[in-house]
């Protein structure tokens, strides 16, 4: 899986966050399904040529978000969506972020239908993609 993770040093975004975000996006898109095993920390570090501590940090961030679980001595797995934490606080954060986007959209002069259509188009990109996962050249 490491092949589709892109590392951009100098982008301003910490490398652990780049790794965590790309994995969470793959989980959201279903390219990584519940129960799938993530590569071992050392393996991913070697493949991406980044510090193993950076990978470990990315994994622990994903674990905090409830997206993966680590089984001692076995590895890190994508967790079951039904068991993922989605408490009121998380939903609040999501609502706030949506508000920011909606505000910007309205300020740009978009109609609410336009904004809904844009949301719909973006969501389709996530959920309608075949589950086979990305190719190397994606």
């Amino acid at each position: 899986m490491a092949l589709w993770i892109q590392i951009l040093p100098g982008s301003g975004k910490p490398i652990y966050a780049q790794v965590a975000e790309q994995i969470s996006e793959a989980i959201a898109k279903g390219e990584l399904a519940s129960g799938d095993k993530l590569p071992a920390v050392r393996k991913l570090a070697a493949e991406l040529v980044i510090n193993p501590n950076t990978v470990a940090r990315a994994y622990s961030r994903l674990e905090q978000a409830g997206l993966v679980t680590t089984k001692t001595g076995s590895g890190t797995y994508v967790s079951d969506p039904k068991l993922r934490r989605s408490d009121a606080a998380d939903i609040n954060i999501l609502t706030e972020r949506m508000d920011t986007l909606i505000t910007r959209g309205l300020n740009l002069g978009l109609e609410s239908e336009d904004i809904i259509a844009m949301f719909k188009a973006r969501i389709d990109k996530f959920v309608s993609k075949p589950k086979a996962g990305r190719g190397k050249n994606d």
């Binding site: 590392i7 040093p9 100098g10 910490p14 050392r42 070697a46 040529v49 510090n51 940090r57």
Partner: protein, 307 residues
């Protein structure tokens, strides 16, 4: 906490009347990749040579793997790898001869297969003399020589200077490969901050011979901030915010570079001075480094008047 693999105390070096390294107090813990950064002439090479006992300090001391740098025993030296700036290798030797020569210093630890595999991977003929290699090829031989004895501490002085992206990446891969082994530590100097960001988990910054930072990379990334504040009429006369490093003014704006200033404190200060708005600008490592090592009252080289 175990003893640091590398420790200096008040390490100081004068070349005549020129102060190259100024009371360096440094401690590097075991198990990290440490990016050693500083501008040209900051004293990185001198500091490295002092640590390795290749130069005599004017004052102070340093210890590698618990042993005084001035009296490193052969047994300790065997556990340390050193890659010189420019990969200076004996030009008249072939790769095979150089390996034999180098192996003699490391005895049992030398991994023949590892060295052979690397040279094969680089597609270099072992009989070729060093003087007939390109800069990149010589760097590759130097990397193989540095890794083959499986050093506990690897010190590299600007190993990727002037190398192409592919060979630079091989050096980064080599560092990652080494660090995965138990208890290995790497210190490397570089001007390529993207490389430092990619592989390091620790950063040491020196400027004009003085230690400016020695912390985790993450800590450094969080510590150096740029804040832009806008004011309705004019900027405040006194800028008394904590952690101020640089302050640049235009008529109605202040651009501040801050170190270790909490976001709450920035908000309070903006409020206190009646700023209309402020924002904390995301900086990449290179911008942070440039600001962090810029002289006081640093101004931009070129200024464009507002049109």
């Amino acid at each position: 906490m175990t003893e640091p693999v590398l420790q200096t105390e008040g390490l100081t070096k004068y070349y005549g009347s020129v102060l190259a390294v100024d009371h360096l107090d440094l401690a590097i813990p075991r198990g990290c990749i440490c990016g050693f950064v500083g501008r040209n002439g900051a004293g990185k090479t001198t500091a490295i040579k002092l640590m390795l006992g290749l130069l005599r300090p004017t004052a102070g001391s340093s210890r590698l793997l618990g042993c005084d740098s001035a009296a490193l025993t052969p047994a300790i030296r065997q556990r340390i790898g050193y890659v010189t700036e420019g990969h200076r290798l004996f030009r008249w030797m072939s790769i095979a001869e150089l390996e034999k020569f180098q192996r003699s210093f490391f005895a049992k630890q030398w991994d023949d297969k590892f060295f052979a595999d690397m040279i094969e991977y680089f597609d270099l003929p072992k009989k070729r003399k060093i003087k007939h290699l390109s800069n990149g090829e010589r760097a590759q031989v130097s990397l193989a020589l540095a890794l083959a004895p499986n050093p506990e501490l690897l010190i590299m002085d600007d190993p990727t200077l002037g190398l192409d992206a592919a060979i630079r990446r091989q050096f980064l891969e080599g560092m990652i490969e080494l660090i995965m082994r138990e208890g290995r530590t790497v210190l490397f100097s570089s001007h390529i901050l993207g490389d430092v960001e990619r592989v390091s988990d620790r950063i040491v910054v020196i400027d004009k011979g003085v230690l400016r930072a020695n912390c985790s990379l993450e800590e450094f990334r969080k510590a150096v901030k740029k804040v832009i504040l806008s004011f309705a009429d004019s900027t405040p006369a006194e800028v008394d915010i904590d952690g101020l490093l640089h302050c640049r003014r235009s008529e109605k704006e202040l651009e501040l570079i801050l170190v270790s200033t909490a976001d709450d404190h920035i908000a309070e200060w903006a409020d206190k001075t009646g700023a209309e708005k402020y924002h904390i600008v995301k900086m990449n490592l290179e911008d942070q480094f440039i600001e962090f090592t810029a002289p006081a009252n640093h101004k931009r080289m070129f200024r464009w008047e507002e049109i």
